[in-house]
C-alpha cells in the first residue's frame, strides 16, 4: 500500500498545484515534493526492516482479460531509483525559485506529474504498466520543453518527442512479442516481469535478438547511446533549466534502469551474441562525446555532451553483465543524477548573473564570489569522480566491471575519466579563474534558494563519497538479484 501511496501522492500534488495561482504554486509544489521525499524515507525504513512487507508491493488487476495488472513493488534497485527521484525533484523545484515562469501552476504541475510517471517506471513490475508509465513520462517533459524552452524550441522538442516515441513503439512491439509467447505451458498469458523473464529465456537466439534490439532501441534513445544521441544536446540546451535537470538527472536513468531490469534478464542469449556491438557503441560514444565536449564553447552544451559520455560508461558497465559492472552502473546513476543537476544549476546561475554561458566571455568569477567557487569546485570534482566524492565509487566499479569483460574495452572506457577531467577542469578554469572579465563584474552573491540547493548537493556529494556503504549495500543487493535472473 505504501508504494501505491508513493505514486498517488505526486499525482494528487500535481492536480492541487494546477489549481493554485502565482507564487503559491511553487511553494505548494515544493512542500508536497518534500512530503513525497519523507514518504520515500518511510518506504526505505520499511524496506530496511522488512523487505518482504506487504506494504511494499501492490498488485491489482487492471485489464484482467489481457493479463495486465497494476503491479508495483519496491526492491533494492527500485528503492535507490525512487530515492534519487524523490531527492532530486524538491531540489529541482527549489532551483527554479529565482526564475519566473509564466503560468507557474502548469509548470510545477507538470513537474510533479512527471515525478509520478518516473516513480511508476521505477517501481512497475508489469511489462505493460512499465510501458504506460514510460510513455506517460514523455508527455509532461514535452510540454515543459515546448512551453518554457528557449528559441527554436518547437522544432527541437519535436525532434526529441519523435525520437523517443519511435524507440518506445519498438519497445512496445518487443514487449508484445514477449507477451504473446508467455503462458506456453499454462495457456495463461501474463505481463508479470518474472513471467517475461522466463518467456524471454525460452526463445531461441533469433527471436531473442529481435526482442533485444527492439527494446534496446528504446533504451538507447532515452539514455542516449551513440548514434541515437542526436536529439540530446539541442534538447538539453533549449529546455528550461528544470526541464534539463529532469531529463538528465532522472529521465536518462529510465533508460539505464530499463536496461538492467527489463532487458538483460529477458534476453541472455541475444546479450551474449550482440552484447559486444552494444558495448562497442557505448564505449565509442564515450570517446566521441568527450571529444566534442572539449571543444564546446557553451557551458550548458558541454555538460550535455559530458552526460552522453557518462551514460556511455554506465551502459557499457551494465552490458558487461557482471557484479562490478552493474553495481557500479547503479552507483554511477545515483551520483550522476545528483552531480548533473548541480552542474545544470551552475550553468543557470552563470546565465542569470552574467547573461552568458559562453566560456570565452566568462572568467575570474572566483574573485567576485569565493563561496560559489568552492561549491562549483565540489560539484565539478564529483563529476570527474575524484576519490572521496560520490562519483568515484561508481566509476571505479564500472571500469573494474568493464575490465572483466575485456581489457581493451576498459582501456578505451577509462578515457572517460581522463577526457572528463580535461574538459571539466578546463571549463572550470575558464569560467572561475584567470582575469576578471567584464561579464564577471556583475556577479554578486548567490540567492538563498540557489545556495541551499548547492549546499545540499555538495553535502550529498561529499557524504556519499566518504561513506557510500548504505547506497552501495543496496546496489549490491539489487545487482545480485538481477544477476541471479540473468544467470539462471
Amino acid at each position: 500500500m505504501l508504494v501505491g501511496l508513493l505514486i498517488i501522492v505526486p499525482l494528487i500534488a500535481s492536480l492541487l498545484v494546477f489549481f493554485t495561482k502565482g507564487n503559491t504554486s511553487r511553494t505548494v509544489a515544493l512542500g508536497l515534493s518534500v512530503v513525497e521525499f519523507m514518504l520515500s524515507l518511510v518506504v526505505l525504513f520499511q524496506y530496511k526492516h522488512n523487505p518482504a512487507s506487504a506494504d511494499l508491493a501492490l498488485n491489482c488487476p487492471w485489464v484482467e482479460s489481457l493479463g495486465i495488472h497494476f503491479a508495483v513493488s519496491i526492491d533494492a534497485l527500485s528503492m535507490l531509483m525512487v530515492l534519487l527521484t524523490t531527492f532530486l525533484v524538491p531540489l529541482i523545484i527549489l532551483s527554479s525559485f529565482n526564475s519566473s515562469y509564466e503560468k507557474p501552476n502548469s509548470f510545477y504541475g507538470l513537474i510533479l506529474l512527471m515525478q509520478m510517471a518516473l516513480l511508476g517506471v521505477f517501481t512497475a513490475n508489469d511489462g505493460f504498466l512499465f510501458y504506460v508509465f514510460w510513455e506517460l513520462a514523455l508527455i509532461p517533459i514535452y510540454f515543459i520543453c515546448l512551453l518554457w524552452g528557449g528559441e527554436n524550441r518547437g522544432r527541437i522538442t519535436f525532434k526529441f518527442f519523435v525520437y523517443t516515441l519511435f524507440g518506445s513503439l519498438f519497445m512496445l512491439v518487443g514487449l508484445i512479442y514477449l507477451y504473446n509467447h508467455t503462458g506456453f505451458s499454462t495457456g495463461i498469458k501474463s505481463w508479470a516481469v518474472t513471467d517475461l523473464y522466463q518467456t524471454g529465456k525460452s526463445l531461441n537466439l533469433h527471436q531473442q535478438s529481435f526482442v533485444f534490439w527492439s527494446i534496446f532501441l528504446a533504451f538507447g534513445i532515452k539514455m542516449p547511446i551513440f548514434p541515437l544521441h542526436t536529439w540530446q544536446p539541442d534538447t538539453y540546451v533549449n529546455a528550461p533549466t528544470q526541464g534539463t535537470m529532469l531529463l538528465s538527472g532522472i529521465m536518462l536513468k529510465m533508460g539505464t534502469f530499463g536496461l538492467i531490469k527489463w532487458l538483460m534478464p529477458v534476453t541472455p542469449l541475444a546479450l551474449a551474441e550482440w552484447g559486444w556491438l552494444a558495448i562497442a557503441l557505448s564505449v565509442f560514444g564515450i570517446f566521441y562525446a568527450s571529444c566534442i565536449a572539449i571543444v564546446q564553447k557553451d557551458y550548458k552544451r558541454l555538460i550535455a555532451y559530458s552526460s552522453i559520455a557518462h551514460v556511455g560508461l554506465i551502459a557499457a558497465g551494465i552490458l558487461s553483465a557482471n557484479q562490478q559492472g552493474i553495481q557500479g552502473a547503479v552507483m554511477q546513476m545515483l551520483a550522476h543524477g545528483v552531480n548533473v543537476v548541480g552542474l545544470f544549476l551552475i550553468a543557470d546561475i552563470l546565465m542569470r548573473h552574467t547573461g552568458t554561458r559562453e566560456m570565452e566571455k566568462l572568467g575570474g568569477i572566483r574573485n567576485m564570489n569565493g563561496n560559489f567557487a568552492v561549491l562549483f569546485l565540489i560539484v565539478m570534482l564529483g563529476s570527474v569522480a575524484l576519490p572521496l566524492t560520490n562519483g568515484f565509487v561508481g566509476e571505479f566499479l564500472l571500469i573494474n566491471g568493464v575490465y572483466q569483460y575485456g581489457a581493451w574495452v576498459a582501456a578505451f572506457a577509462a578515457l572517460t575519466v581522463i577526457l572528463g577531467a580535461v574538459y571539466m577542469l578546463r571549463s572550470y578554469q575558464a569560467i572561475m579563474l584567470g582575469e576578471k572579465k567584464d561579464s564577471a563584474i556583475a556577479f554578486g552573491s548567490l540567492e538563498g534558494s540557489d545556495k541551499w540547493v548547492l549546499y545540499i548537493i555538495c553535502a550529498a556529494i561529499i557524504a556519499f563519497g566518504v561513506y557510500p556503504k548504505p547506497l552501495n549495500d543496496l546496489a549490491e543487493e539489487g545487482t545480485k538479484a538481477i544477476l541471479t535472473y540473468i544467470n539462471n
Binding site: 485489464v63 510513455e135 504473446n180
Partner: protein, 463 residues
C-alpha cells in the same frame, strides 16, 4: 434490431415534418430517438447468445452486429450534438432525412447476411452521403466534393456488383453462410473467377474505406464537404464500412485468405506511407484529418489482415473504430468552432488557442494524443490491439512500417498542438463555443481518457 427500425421510422418522420410543420421539434425528437435506439440496442445485446434473423436470412443481428451498431449509434448521438447548426439553415428536414437514412444504411452494413443486403446497405449509406457532401449548394468546393464522391462511389459499386456476380456464378448463392460453407467444402477446389470476384469485392471495399491507392477521392471530398459532413464521413461511414469489410473478409472469405492477404498487405503498406507522408505537407487541418483517416483505415485493415479467429481481430476493429470515432468527433468539434470564427481551417487558425481558449485547446490536445496513439488515451489501446493481433502473423514487417509512419504521424498531430501553444495569433478573433459543444467536448474527452484507462468494458465484449 429495433434500433434499425427506430432509425428508419425517424427518417420517415423527418420527411413528414415538412408537411405537418413540426420542423422545430425535429431536432429534440431525433436526439431522443437515437438515444432510444441506442438503449434498445444495448438491451438486446445484454441477452446471451442473442441472434435474430429477419427477412429470409437477409439480415441477421448477433452480438457482433449489435456491438458495431452501438458504436455507430453513440457516434451518431455525438455527431448530432456537433451538427446542431447544420440543421438551422434551409432544407432542414431534407438534411435530417438524409443523415438518418445514411444511418440506416450504416446499421444494415453491421448486420447483412446476404450479398444483396450488403449492396443495399452500401447504397443506402452512400447516396445520402453524395447529396450531403454537396449540400452547401452555392459553394463550388462542396459541389465538386459531391460530384467526385458520386463518381468514385458509383465506380466502386460497379466493382462490388461485378464481384458479387462472379461469386454468385461460382457458388450459386447470395447468402453469406452458404458461400462460406461452399468455400469450406470446396477444399481449395474453386473456379478461378471466384477469386477474381473476391478481389473485386476487396477493391470495392477498399474504395469505400479510402485505402491507398483507391484514396484519391478522399482528401478533396473531405475538404470540400461541410465540416460536420466530413466528421460524419470519417466516423460513422468508416465504422460501418469496416463492419462490413470485416464481416466479409474475416468470417466469409477468411477461408481463402491466401488469395487476398498479400494484396491487402500491399494496400496497407501503401496507405501507411502515402497518407502519412502526404499529411505532413498539408496546410489545412481538415485535409490533414482526411489523410490521417486514411492512415487509421490502414491500421484497421491490419487487424483484418491478421484474420485471427478467436475474436482478436474483431475486438481490435471494434475498439479501434470506437476510439477513432470519439477522438475524431472531438477534433472536428474544435475544428468546426475554430474555422467558423476564423473562416479558415488552416493550421494558422489554431495559433494562440492555448492562451485564448485553454479548455478547447486542452480537449484538442487529448484528441490529438489519442489519434497519435499515446497512453493513457483510447488511441493507444487501439494501436496496441492491432499490434498484438498482427504480431503473431507473418506480416511483422507491416508493424515496423506502421511504427515508422506513426512517428511521422506525430509530426502533423503535434503541429496542431505547437500552433495552439507556441505560435501567437496575428489577428485576434474571439472563438466562441455553444454550451452544447462544450458539453460534447467534455463528454468525448472523458470518454477518450476513460477508454484509455479502463478498456475492459469494450474488449471483454467478445471474450
Amino acid at each position: 434490431m429495433k434500433g434499425l427500425f427506430i432509425i428508419s421510422a425517424l427518417g420517415i418522420l423527418a420527411m413528414l415534418a415538412e408537411i405537418f410543420k413540426f420542423k422545430k421539434l425535429l431536432y429534440p425528437i431525433v436526439l431522443v430517438g437515437i438515444l432510444a435506439a441506442y438503449v434498445t440496442n444495448f438491451m438486446e445485446w445484454g441477452q446471451n447468445n442473442m441472434s435474430i434473423t429477419m427477412f429470409n436470412n437477409m439480415i441477421h443481428f448477433n452480438d457482433m452486429s449489435l456491438a458495431f451498431s452501438g458504436v455507430i449509434l453513440i457516434t451518431a448521438f455525438f455527431w448530432f450534438i456537433l451538427a446542431n447548426d447544420y440543421f438551422e439553415q434551409d432544407h432542414v428536414t431534407d438534411h435530417f432525412a438524409l443523415v438518418l437514412f445514411a444511418l440506416v444504411g450504416a446499421l444494415m452494413l453491421t448486420s447483412f447476411r446476404n450479398m444483396t443486403t450488403l449492396f443495399l446497405g452500401i447504397e443506402i449509406l452512400s447516396i445520402p452521403m453524395y447529396v450531403l457532401a454537396a449540400s452547401r449548394k452555392r459553394d463550388l468546393a462542396s459541389n465538386e466534393a459531391g460530384f467526385k464522391y458520386l463518381i468514385m462511389g458509383s465506380f466502386a459499386s460497379g466493382f462490388l456488383l461485378f464481384g458479387i456476380a462472379l461469386i454468385y456464378g461460382a457458388t450459386g448463392s447470395f447468402d453469406l453462410m452458404t458461400i462460406r460453407s461452399f468455400i469450406s467444402h470446396a477444399n481449395g477446389d474453386l473456379p478461378s473467377f471466384f477469386y477474381a470476384g473476391v478481389l473485386m469485392v476487396l477493391v470495392a471495399m477498399l474504395f469505400k474505406v479510402s485505402a491507398a491507392p483507391f484514396h484519391f477521392w478522399a482528401p478533396d471530398v473531405y475538404e470540400g464537404s461541410p465540416t460536420v459532413i466530413t466528421a460524419l464521413m470519417s466516423t460513422i461511414v468508416k465504422t460501418a464500412a469496416f463492419a462490413a469489410f470485416m464481416q466479409l473478409f474475416i468470417i466469409i472469405f477468411g477461408g481463402v485468405s491466401q488469395s487476398w492477404s498479400m494484396v491487402l498487405a500491399v494496400v496497407i503498406a501503401l496507405s501507411l506511407v502515402v497518407s502519412n507522408i502526404t499529411a505532413v505537407s498539408q496546410q489545412s487541418v481538415k485535409r490533414m484529418l482526411a489523410y490521417s483517416s486514411i492512415s487509421h483505415a490502414a491500421f484497421m485493415l491490419m487487424a483484418i489482415l491478421a484474420n485471427t479467429r478467436n475474436f482478436g481481430s474483431i475486438n481490435a476493429i471494434l475498439y479501434y473504430s470506437l476510439a477513432y470515432s470519439i477522438g475524431s468527433i472531438a477534433a472536428f468539434t474544435v475544428l468546426y468552432n475554430v474555422s467558423k470564427a476564423k473562416n479558415s481551417s488552416n493550421f494558422e487558425a489554431f495559433n494562440g488557442l492555448g492562451k485564448r481558449h485553454p479548455f478547447m485547446a486542452a480537449c484538442m490536445v487529448i484528441a490529438m494524443l489519442s489519434l497519435a496513439g499515446i497512453p493513457i488515451t483510447a488511441g493507444f489501446f487501439a494501436k496496441y490491439f492491432v499490434f498484438s493481433v498482427l504480431i503473431g502473423t507473418s506480416f511483422k514487417w507491416l508493424i515496423i512500417l506502421a511504427i515508422l509512419t506513426s512517428a511521422v504521424g506525430v509530426y502533423y498531430y503535434f503541429k496542431v498542438i505547437i500552433a495552439m501553444y507556441f505560435k501567437e495569433e496575428e489577428i485576434h478573433e474571439e472563438v466562441t463555443m455553444e454550451t452544447s459543444h462544450v458539453l460534447l467536448l467534455v463528454l468525448t474527452t472523458l470518454f477518450t481518457i476513460a477508454l484509455g484507462i479502463v478498456p475492459n468494458y469494450v474488449i471483454e465484449i467478445f471474450s
